[in-house]
């Protein structure tokens, strides 16, 4: 299983946002979206990858990009995780059917959790860029997202 490649349309999918509201492919349309797939809420790194991205929220906003965290955790776990790190971007849950969206995007780890992966889509919901870490412990820096965001404009 490999991550969906640039140039391919995003697959149909349904994730749960906070409160259980569905988030689907249609929500990608009209803007630049970065889906940040991560293995588990509260996984044991100190200053988490996601809180570093959160620190850069204004830089993402300047480029018109909206980030979402995606994991197979329940929405309540994601809410607690978001609160504990004061994350400034929304979390989306792939809890039921578990991992279905991760599978559709090609990032489901055989262990039943998302690979650490980044997928950027354009206003047409077509994948502009994707990245899958060599291992779940390998943390992608925000520089990779900025390379993709700034590269696409020229």
């Amino acid at each position: 299983m490999t991550v969906v490649a640039a140039g391919r349309p995003a697959p149909e999918f349904t994730l749960a946002a906070l409160g259980g509201r569905p988030f689907t492919r249609a929500d990608l349309e009209g803007g630049v979206t970065v889906l940040v797939f991560y293995p588990f809420a509260f996984s044991p790194v100190c200053t988490d990858q996601l809180s570093v991205y959160s620190e850069l929220r204004e830089d993402f906003a300047e480029r018109g990009a909206t980030l979402y965290g995606v994991s197979c955790d329940a929405v309540w776990s994601q809410q607690a995780f978001k609160d504990s790190l004061s994350l400034q971007f929304e979390q989306l849950s792939d809890f039921e059917p578990k991992g279905a969206t991760c599978r559709a995007f090609g990032v489901l780890h055989p262990g039943g959790f998302p690979q650490r992966a980044l997928i950027m889509t354009g206003p047409d919901a077509v994948v502009r860029w994707s990245y899958e870490a060599a291992s779940p412990g390998d943390l992608p820096g925000a520089n990779l997202i900025f390379d993709a965001l700034d590269g696409q404009e020229s």
Binding site: V45, C46, T47, D48, Q49, S51, V52, S54, E55, L56, D59, E62, R63, S84, L85, S86, L87, Q88, G137, L139, P140, G141, A142, N143, L144, F146, D147, D150, G151
Partner: protein, 172 residues
């Protein structure tokens, strides 16, 4: 409006704005750290025991660590009175006490001019130095704290004992 360039770039070279500790000819280790991060404090204790030439750069992440930025400013302000490393060590030594009165108390204990410390830590140039460290780290691919660079190679997260041993003795 100019956007900050955050695209990939090599590790910024060690320059006059950097804080450097340890033997001049020891192996160079550049650490991106946050004074409120417990793994950074643990790494600091390990590094103190090693004969490495250490460069500390600021990577405060305010969401997870609301006092990290203020603590980094305190270290820089102490640095203007020649006490960067003593403040650096004092901050890591007691991460539960990083509120303003605790910072003043440290400044006093280190024999600093507290009024000067107080105005320096709010200086725009201090904040800019910290932001420049952070952005340079982001561009070099720092994804979390601590992240250290040794021989140009990035190691993100808490290094294990074997990795620490290799820092001091790269041939082994």
């Amino acid at each position: 409006m100019t956007r900050a360039d955050l695209s990939s770039s090599p590790l910024p070279p060690v320059g006059p704005h950097d804080h450097v500790r340890g033997p001049a000819h020891g192996p160079l280790v550049v650490v991106y750290g946050d004074y409120e991060c417990p793994f950074c404090a643990a790494l600091e204790l390990s590094l103190r025991e090693l004969p490495v030439r250490l460069v500390h750069r600021h990577f405060p992440v305010r969401g997870a660590h609301p006092r990290a930025f203020a603590a980094a400013c305190a270290a820089e302000a102490a640095g203007r009175q020649g006490a960067f490393w003593p403040m650096h060590e004092a901050l890591f030594a007691d991460q539960g006490r990083l509120e303003d009165p605790h910072l003043w108390e440290r400044a006093e204990r280190l024999g600093l001019d507290v009024a000067r410390f107080e105005s320096d830590r709010r200086d725009a140039a201090v904040a800019e130095h910290i932001r420049a460290d952070f952005r340079g780290g982001v561009r070099a691919g720092v994804p979390t704290t601590p992240t250290l660079f040794h021989d140009g190679v990035r190691h993100a997260g808490r290094p294990d004992a074997a990795a620490l041993a290799r820092l001091a003795n790269p041939i082994a």
